[in-house]
Symmetry: C2
Subunit: 279 residues, 2 copies
């Protein structure tokens, strides 16, 4: 990776680092910025290799380690793995390697889901890799062995979000609606009263998912519960400084990411910088 | 990349090399195997970094060069860039670097399209990167400046194919049908009499595309015209040997690729080997 860019990034030491394969982790960043407006953030989207969720465990672990190393070079004080695929497959590897605390998406989402479910039937949707890992089912049953878990991969949701269809025309909304019905009908039929969005891209499709599942089903995303975990680890005294800022890095073209990120974050301040990841 | 695997691959020197970001290039391989049953083939699917078509030119050129270098290490005698995104963006870079002939997808498809179109209105579909490059429009107009070209990116077609939906259930076919209608309706309305499948993944969705466009529209894929170009460069005397074989390499998990490749090629002989690509 470019030494120049790492040195530049290191000009905001003590920030909170996040990474995702692309745009999805911005759903977590948005929540953390609301909860900790005095903190600085360093975000890495591995857009040259997105999506992670269709790939194998070994590949995802390798990519995740490279992302963590890049952020470590930016002198972050805490890492939020804002990607469920990486959290499901690589969290323990990252925790071993990093000298700062590492927070994933699975445990926070599981805590929230068990707190709101009344019938102990919980649905989990995610990428192929996340569902195959069984990370959610294991974590849910560790706390409540009685819970029934219905998992379903929704592999086209990530490309749909990365194509910007979350802000789509009516024709695009029609495609999203038909994909939501295609993937979620077995979950709706199974009688789950809680659905975990086990991928940080999926909150960008929240309205279509919530509309299809109906008002009686709780939709759980991990970002609020992640903010609780971050709060425990970061007392206010650890603030990043008087001029909090967010920095964005991507491994593919910066312009398109910046454009979609600004739409999603409702800002015009994202100006991502391209870096190259090399083993 | 693994030296052991390269050495192993080099046990079939003089084969025809092909690469693609994933499964799409198999549509070209299938045609070449039919046309040249006496030749050996070495196929590389860069599945750890698929898809290429949503990524930037610089990234696609870098990945394409790495693929060509890997195949060069396998002692191929000719390279078919069986990926339209790589052909559109990286062909001249590869031709400069390689010591063997390099054949892309664009010129063969353009020749075919101009040969069959009667009204000189030609549609081109491809990935975002291919359409943005303008490679097809430039090549078509170079031969016939009068031709009207209507281009349209269909970014979700590659993930749909990589998810195996080309061999789908009726529900999956419904999704494919709605995506085909979503992307192709402007082309149908524009009155093109010829539609170029400007992505080697798209022939896997041929029946849905042809059904939607109707029998009066010629559907052009590049693989037959590529075989003509290969024939010109490879006299029969250059045969790979008495026991032609096909070898498959991928950069992500081998099992899933092998399974889908066997379905597509109608064989049970694909046993891909995983390699790691490093700059």
């Amino acid at each position: 990776m470019s030494q120049t860019l790492v040195a530049d990034a290191a000009s905001t030491p003590g920030s909170i680092g996040l990474f995702d394969s692309g745009l999805g982790g911005l759903t977590v960043l948005r929540e953390l910025k609301l909860s900790f407006p005095w903190e600085s953030f360093t975000y890495l989207g591995d857009t040259a290799r997105t999506p992670y969720g269709a790939k194998g465990a070994e590949t995802v672990i390798r990519y995740s380690k490279e992302c963590a190393r890049f952020l470590s070079g930016c002198e972050i004080k805490l890492l939020v793995v804002a990607c469920n695929t990486a959290s499901s497959l690589a969290l323990s590897h990252l925790a071993e390697e990093c000298s700062f605390p590492v927070i994933g998406t699975v445990d926070p989402a599981v805590r929230t889901a068990l707190g709101v479910s009344r019938n102990e039937k919980i649905g989990v949707i995610g990428t192929n890799a996340t569902v195959k890992s069984g990370a959610y089912e294991t974590a849910l049953k560790r706390i409540n062995p009685q819970v029934m878990v219905v998992s379903k991969p929704c592999p086209l949701f990530v490309p749909v979000v990365e194509e910007g269809m979350f802000d789509g025309t009516s024709a695009e909304k029609g495609i999203v609606k038909s994909l939501v019905e295609f993937y979620l009908s077995p979950l709706k039929e199974s009688g789950v009263d809680t659905l975990v969005l086990g991928c940080t891209h999926y909150p960008l499709l929240l309205s279509a998912i919530a509309e299809y599942m109906g008002p009686e089903v709780n939709i759980v995303e991990c970002s609020k519960a992640i903010a609780e975990d971050v709060r425990k680890l970061l007392p206010v005294s650890s603030s990043s400084g008087r001029n909090p800022q967010s920095r964005f890095f991507v491994t593919d073209e910066a312009a398109r990411f910046s454009q979609l990120a600004n739409i999603f974050l409702g800002s015009s301040q994202v100006q991502a910088v391209k870096v190259q990841m090399v083993d």
